[in-house]
C-alpha cells in the first residue's frame, strides 16, 4: 500500500542539484523521507514535453500527492489534474485553479526588499548590484523588490542589474556569473544579490576573491563563504515541499492557493553563525523594523507581477 501511494516530485529543467530552487525542494522532500521513512518517486525533466509525461506517469503509478516544481509545469499539472481527479497535485510558484490542485506561491519581492535594505546598509560606496539568471518575470520580481529595499534604506543608492543569458545555460554559468559580479565591483558596487541558480556560485566566489559581499538566494547559502556572504534571501521551498508531503500524509492537505510571504514564514532572510559577525546592531534593528512593517502592511512592497512594471 505504502509503496504505490508513494508521493512524487517532478523537478524542472535545472535539475534537483541546481543549488537553489529545485535543490530546495529536494532538501524538503529528503527531510520528509528521512523523518518518515516513506520513499518518494522523482524525475528531472529534460525537455518541455517531459513535464506532462512525468506528471501523468506519476499519477498513473498511483503516486499521491504529485509535486510539480516551478512555474513552467503549470499546464502539465492542469492537464494531469483533469485526467486524474482523484490524485492530489501541488505546484510551486504558479497558480492552477483545479479542485485537486494546491498552488503555493511566494512573495519573493518581500524577501528581496529585506535583503535590499541590508545591502544598502552594508554598502560603503552606495552602490549595490543584482545578478539575475534570465530576464523573465520571476527574476524581475526579485529585482524590483530588491531595488525598492535598497532605495528604502538609502534613497540615493545606485543599483546595477545584470542578466546572465538567454539560453538554459544562463542558470548554470558560474564563469559568466563571476564576470558579471566583477564588472559590478569594478563600477563600485560592493554588495551583490544573485538570483541566478548555479550562476550564483560564480558571483559568490567573485565576491570572496574581491573581498566584497554577496547575498544568496532561495536556500541558505551563507555557509559557502563565511565572511563575505552577507546573508541569503530565503524562499522556503524546502518547507513548502516538506509540508506538502507531510500534510498529504497526515490528511491535512488542502487544495487552493497558499501565498507565502514574510508573515507566513515562507520568505525570510538568513542569519546564522556564518554571517552573524557581519550584521551590525543598526542593521539588525533596521531589518527587524522593515520586516515588521511589511508584515503589518505599513510598507507595501510592489509586486512586479501585479502590473508588469517596476516603478522607479
Amino acid at each position: 500500500m505504502a509503496a504505490d501511494k508513494m508521493p512524487a516530485v517532478v523537478f524542472d529543467m535545472g535539475g534537483k542539484f541546481d543549488k537553489s530552487f529545485n535543490q530546495g525542494v529536494y532538501d524538503g522532500v529528503e527531510k520528509f523521507r528521512k523523518e518518515t521513512g516513506i520513499k518518494y518517486r522523482e524525475f528531472e525533466v529534460k525537455n518541455p514535453t517531459q513535464r506532462e509525461q512525468a506528471i501523468r506517469k506519476m499519477a498513473q503509478r498511483g503516486s499521491d500527492p504529485v509535486l510539480g516544481v516551478g512555474f513552467a509545469q503549470a499546464s502539465a499539472i492542469e492537464k494531469g489534474a483533469k485526467a486524474f481527479p482523484k490524485t492530489r497535485f501541488t505546484i510551486i510558484d504558479m497558480v492552477v485553479m483545479q479542485p485537486n490542485v494546491q498552488s503555493i506561491v511566494f512573495k519573493e519581492h518581500e524577501g528581496s526588499f529585506l535583503v535590499g535594505v541590508l545591502a544598502a546598509m552594508a554598502s560603503k560606496t552606495g552602490k549595490v548590484g543584482f545578478v539575475g539568471g534570465m530576464d523573465i518575470p520571476l527574476i524581475r520580481r526579485f529585482e524590483c523588490g530588491y531595488i525598492h529595499g535598497v532605495k528604502h534604506a538609502n534613497a540615493s543608492a545606485t543599483v546595477y542589474a545584470n542578466m546572465t543569458g538567454t539560453t538554459p545555460s544562463a542558470w548554470n554559468d558560474p564563469t559568466k556569473g563571476a564576470e558579471l559580479a566583477k564588472s559590478q565591483f569594478d563600477r563600485g558596487a560592493d554588495v551583490i544579490f544573485a538570483a541566478a541558480g548555479g550562476t550564483g556560485i560564480g558571483v559568490y566566489q567573485a565576491a570572496k576573491d574581491n573581498g566584497k559581499y554577496a547575498i544568496g538566494v532561495d536556500s541558505n547559502q551563507n555557509h559557502l563563504h563565511p565572511g563575505t556572504m552577507l546573508t541569503s534571501m530565503l524562499k522556503r521551498v524546502d518547507v513548502a515541499a516538506y509540508n506538502t508531503f507531510k500534510s498529504a500524509n497526515d490528511g491535512s492537505w488542502k487544495s487552493g492557493i497558499q501565498v507565502l510571504g514574510l508573515k507566513e514564514g515562507g520568505i525570510d532572510w538568513a542569519l546564522d553563525e556564518h554571517n552573524k559577525a557581519l550584521i551590525t546592531p543598526a542593521m539588525m534593528a533596521a531589518m527587524d523594523k522593515a520586516k515588521a512593517e511589511i508584515i503589518s502592511g505599513k510598507i507595501m512592497v510592489h509586486d512586479y507581477m501585479s502590473d508588469n512594471k517596476c516603478p522607479k
Binding site: 518541455p48 514535453t49 506532462e52 513552467a72 504558479m94 508588469n308
Partner: protein
C-alpha cells in the same frame, strides 16, 4: 547508402554492422552501469521496454523521432550542397515562432483545415528566413557558415526571450509563454486519429507531424536524387568548379539549400508548438537541432538512414526517460552518456569493425573474391 569502397554485401554493410556497433555501445554502457553499482541487464531491459514496450512508450519514441527526422534531414540537405549547417537549433526555434504567430493570429478565425497549411508554410518560411541570412552572407560575402549559424543560434535564443517576456507573454502570468491556442490550431494526436478509426491506443504526444516528417523524407529523397535541383545541389557540394562549368550558380544553390535546410528545421515547430505544447514557450527546441547533426551523419545523409538514426535517438530519449522514472539511481546523465557512446560507436567508429568483418566474410566465402 552503401559505401562503394566496401567489399561487403549491402545487408552486412548497412544492416549487420550498424547493429553490432550499437550493441557495442550498449556493452560499454553496461560496463559503466555495472561500475556504478547497478544492474546493466535490468537497465537495458527497462530502456528497451521503455522505448518500444507498450503503446505509450512507442508514441513518445516516435514523437522524438519526428523531431530528429526534421533536423536530420535539414543537416543532410545542407550537407549535400557542401554546407555544414549548425544552425538547426535556432532555425527550429524560429520556425516555432512562425507557427505560433500564425496560430495566435488566426486560431479564432480559421478552421484547422485552413490553419494547417498556413502553419506549415509559416514554419518553413521562418526557419528558412533564419537560415537565409547566413546563406546570403556566405554566398555574397564568403562569411563562414559554421560561425554564422552558431551565432544565429544565440541570436535566436535572445530574440525568443525578448519576444516571450515582453511581447507574446500572456499578461499577468509568471511563465514566459504565450496564451494557449484554441483547439482549431491543435494538430490531432495520433491516438485521436487512430481513435476515429476505432483503434484505441494510449495517449502520447505523437501527432500527425510524424506523417509530415515521413513525407518530407520522401520529398527530400526525390529532390536530392531525382530532380535537377537536387542534381545541382549535389554538383555544387561535390565540385563547385564543375558546377560553374555546368552553368549552375553556386550562390543560388547555397541559398536554396540553406533555406530548404532551415525550412526542414522549422518543422520542429509544427511538431512541438502545434502538435504538443499548443503555445509558444522557451527552449522547446531542447537540443533537437544539435542532435540532428549526429542523426544526419549517422544516417549517412540519406533519408532512410536518417529515419533509422532518428528512431535510435528517439528510443534513447524515451528509453532513457523511462530508466530515470523506474529507478532514480539511474540519473538522467547516464542516458546522456549512453547517447554519447552510441554516437561514438555507431557514428565515429562505424568503420572499426569493417576490416575484421571483411576478412571474416572473405574467409567464409572465398569464392566471392573478385578476379581482376
Amino acid at each position: 547508402m552503401a559505401d562503394p569502397s566496401s567489399k561487403l554485401p549491402t545487408w552486412v554493410d548497412v544492416g549487420l554492422l550498424p547493429l553490432i556497433n550499437v550493441a557495442l555501445a550498449f556493452v560499454v554502457s553496461g560496463l559503466l552501469i555495472a561500475a556504478l553499482g547497478q544492474d546493466p541487464f535490468e537497465a537495458t531491459w527497462i530502456m528497451l521496454r521503455g522505448a518500444f514496450g507498450y503503446e505509450e512508450s512507442l508514441g513518445y519514441t516516435f514523437y522524438y523521432t519526428t523531431n530528429f527526422i526534421f533536423t536530420g534531414l535539414a543537416v543532410a540537405v545542407a550537407f549535400h550542397a557542401g554546407l555544414f549547417n549548425i544552425g538547426g537549433e535556432g532555425q527550429a526555434y524560429i520556425g516555432g515562432l512562425g507557427v505560433a504567430i500564425a496560430c495566435l493570429a488566426l486560431d479564432q478565425y480559421l478552421p484547422f483545415g485552413l490553419l494547417l497549411p498556413i502553419c506549415i508554410l509559416a514554419a518553413a518560411l521562418f526557419g528558412a528566413g533564419w537560415a537565409f541570412i547566413p546563406a546570403y552572407l556566405l554566398a555574397k560575402r564568403g562569411s563562414h557558415v559554421v560561425i554564422t549559424t552558431i551565432m544565429f543560434n544565440f541570436i535566436a535564443a535572445s530574440l525568443m526571450v525578448y519576444l516571450l517576456v515582453n511581447v507574446m507573454i500572456k499578461p499577468g502570468q509568471m511563465s514566459p509563454e504565450s496564451r494557449e491556442f484554441t483547439s482549431n490550431a491543435w494538430l490531432p494526436y495520433m491516438h485521436e486519429v487512430l481513435g476515429w478509426f476505432g483503434w484505441e491506443v494510449a495517449q502520447s504526444p505523437l501527432n500527425l507531424s510524424l506523417l509530415w516528417a515521413l513525407v518530407c523524407c520522401v520529398l527530400v529523397w526525390g529532390l536530392i536524387w531525382h530532380t535537377r535541383w537536387g542534381y545541382e545541389i549535389r554538383a555544387v557540394g561535390a565540385n563547385a568548379d564543375a558546377a560553374v562549368y555546368a552553368g549552375i550558380s553556386p550562390s543560388k544553390i547555397i541559398i536554396l539549400a540553406m533555406c530548404l535546410s532551415g525550412a526542414l528545421s522549422g518543422f520542429v515547430g509544427i511538431n512541438e508548438i502545434m502538435g504538443v505544447q499548443h503555445r509558444l514557450l522557451l527552449d522547446f527546441a531542447a537540443g533537437y537541432g544539435f542532435t540532428g547533426i549526429a542523426v544526419s551523419l549517422m544516417g549517412r545523409n540519406h533519408p532512410v538512414g536518417i529515419i533509422l538514426a532518428a528512431l535510435l535517438f528517439g528510443a534513447l530519449y524515451q528509453g532513457g526517460a523511462e530508466l530515470a522514472f523506474e529507478n532514480s539511481a539511474f540519473s538522467p546523465d547516464l542516458i546522456v552518456v549512453i547517447q554519447g557512446l552510441v554516437v561514438l560507436f555507431s557514428g565515429a567508429l562505424s568503420y572499426m569493425l569493417r576490416g575484421p568483418m571483411e576478412r571474416l566474410y572473405l574467409r567464409l566465402s572465398p569464392g566471392r573474391l573478385v578476379e581482376g
